[in-house]
């Protein structure tokens, strides 16, 4: 079947304003949107640029706005979206070329929340013990693949790019609630900054955008309440 695509193109070298480009490709309903982009790139127009790697939703490369919502191109099948398909780069981060945005600000925010286990006690020869119940507390937030779908779907982030963003808070949550970690006080201290968790206005776009099904807003709310109670 023929699928029409409408893709927002931008090239800093020749097209600084950006424009919509239209393509039609032959595709099966079972194919991924990523497969369509590949068909265009490989057989029609090699200049179309986008990131991708794993092609099954685990590496977090290809978050983009598909028919108005953030999704991973490799995780949506043609039959799940209506024709024509519009594709734009994710919002709120500087566009570098076509569907590729500058991810550095995003990773900088991630690095700010000290995303590593902090525990100064000598752990000994064997593993630290952790009960399955304690492990369950971080089950949801450890799934994050840093795709930025959440952060770039957040209306607060679109206008206030200094906002640390849901992804960073999710990753802080992952350590704050890890029974082995001792750095939660510092992380909460970082997150109560003007640009931290309290910028979140519970828009819930992040939760619907997360391709890993993480309850992002819930994680942010946990952090807000934790800050409140620990102060």
């Amino acid at each position: 079947m023929d699928i029409d695509l409408k893709i927002l193109r931008y090239d800093p070298e020749s097209d600084r304003k950006g424009h919509w480009e239209y393509y039609t490709v032959e595709a099966d309903p079972e194919e991924r949107i990523l497969d369509l982009l590949h068909k265009i790139k490989w057989f029609e127009d090699g200049t179309l640029s986008f990131r991708r790697s794993c092609a099954h939703g685990v590496c977090g490369s290809d978050a983009m706005v598909i028919n108005g919502e953030n999704m991973l191109a490799c995780q949506v099948l043609v039959k799940e979206v209506s024709n024509p398909i519009t594709i734009e780069p994710i919002r709120g981060l500087p566009v570098v070329k076509d569907l590729i945005v500058d991810m550095d600000p995003f990773f900088d925010s991630y690095k700010k929340i000290m995303p590593y286990l902090i525990n100064e006690n000598e752990p000994g020869e064997r593993e630290r013990l952790q009960s399955p119940e304690d492990r369950d507390k971080i089950e949801d937030t450890t799934k994050c693949i840093l795709c930025a779908a959440c952060t770039t779907s957040c209306p607060v982030f679109w206008t206030a790019d200094s906002y640390i963003g849901p992804a960073a808070i999710v990753n802080a949550h992952r350590f704050i609630y890890d029974s082995r970690d001792e750095g939660s006080k510092q992380r909460l201290e970082i997150l109560k900054d003007v640009n931290g968790a309290f910028r979140c206005r519970t828009a819930f776009n992040c939760t619907s955008a997360c391709p890993r099904g993480i309850q992002v807003t819930k994680a942010i709310e946990d952090v807000k309440r934790e800050t409140l109670l620990n102060n």
């Binding site: 070298e13 127009d45 640029s49 590496c59 013990l129 450890t142 799934k143």
Partner: protein, 580 residues
Amino acid sequence: MKIIKHSFDGVIVGAGGAGLRAAIEAAPHMKLAVITKLYPTRSHTGAAQGGMSAALANVEEDNWNWHAFDTVKGSDYLADQPAVDILCKEAIDAVIELEHWGLPFSRLENGKIAQRRFGGHTVKEGEAPAFRACYAADRTGHMILQTLYQKCVSMGVEFFDEFQVLDIKIEDGVCKGVIAFELSTGDIHIFETRAVTFATGGFGKIFKVSSNAHSLTGDGPGILYQKGIPLEDMEFYQFHPTGIYRLGILLSEAARGEGGILRNKDGERFMERYAPSIKDLAPRDMVSRAIATEISKGNGAGPQNDYVYLDLTHLGAETINKKLPDITDFVRTYVKIEPINEPIPVQPTAHYAMGGIPTDVNGRVLSDEKNTILPGVYAAGEAACVSVHGANRLGTNSLLDIMVFGKRAGQSMLEYVSKTKASSISDSSSDDLVKKINNLIEKEHTDEFSVGRIRNDLQESMEKNTKIFRTEETLSEQTKILEDLRERYENVTIFDKGKVFNTELMETIELDYLLDMSESTVASALARKESRGAHSRQDFPERDDAEWMKHSFAFKNGNSATLRYKDVELGKYEPMERTY
């Protein structure tokens, strides 16, 4: 094209598990750069699912010697046994170390790291399947990659994200540096360094149906191969039995470790016939061959009789949701069936390269079959061949491999750097590369010679002629096809003439490596006249220990490869027939 020069003590190419593990070892003691063409967390280590083996004995009695026995037997006796001993012995510390760095392993009731069964892993040298694979649900690789990256962030390791390494400079047999292309600007960066570790991962994209990422194109092995370094054991490429039908997305062996069963179109549990004692948990080469055999006998399911079923329906929703959440989600997303109630259509998928850049147990690259060391060059992970996997890797041993030998490569780098003086690299060292790139960009674009078409033809032909079963005939045919493809590649043209994120240009250069990988694979496979592990010649169905207990070394020779051989290092395990 701007040319920018940097100076480092050491450079690691690749930020998957192996690269990051090496970086953690080396970074505190030298000026180190980690160069990666993807953001580190996008590396394909993150796709690994099932687990990482170590004889922790958390569930039942276990012993690293049994682990070594299984690994050697699984390798069809082609693995070097001293290396296997190191792998299995250091496994325990490798897992504990990850736990200490924060890896959220799944846990047993008593709070210890949980372990599950996996194909080919047994207790007491084959008595029963062993609980040896440490796991975090079915996203163990994701957790490893995240944990290692987090550790690197905490140490302040210097990363060059989205820089693609395209060349290495070796002068007078000594490493001088590497040259990389900055994707976001199109600038060329010369990294002056004494030591380079290649940890660029596998090259599963030579096949059409593959569990590998689009980025796995064999860059590291390709770069060295073009410089005259051989590639070891290239004929051994693993096909994983359970890829999602047509897509190749992996459904981890953990599915069978937790009790999943393979069935043919009649619902028969056919593995009972091929491996009576451990059935569905037989090593991958055997299960893949069993599936291929069932299909060729007409027992495959579906309109074209070309797949079998992976049946999880008897496991119950609770086990599935808790232990296999991701892979069952893949099934829901891509096949649109509910694995709790329906069996899943699967077929073997290209998965893992046992072969690669030859190294010793300390990650030092060997430049020939006589164990000559190439000073300053190291390799680890799937890009390297130590060889601990021999002719067939056991599941979970690769995550182990990247941890154990990644660390060792990092240590070797340190040792080398502390003993040698910095040397300089000339500004003109990127000239060849710049010329190559300019040539590609300047050529007028023609459809016939587009990257997409050539690569497509490569993948389809490799899939057809060199997958699970091979013969003299298919391999010779493939040799001819490869010659033709190489000729077309010489004329390859690209559409995108820009500097910023010219991914088409990068794909074109990657295609060169894919062709190299295919040529060396086919040449090595054609030469090896026996069946061993993943290399299965229908015209030579038996293993031939007298003639072929040896590693192949393929040296680039035009469009083909010259082969030389090195004996396998044996140890306490005598080769015996591989039955399960």
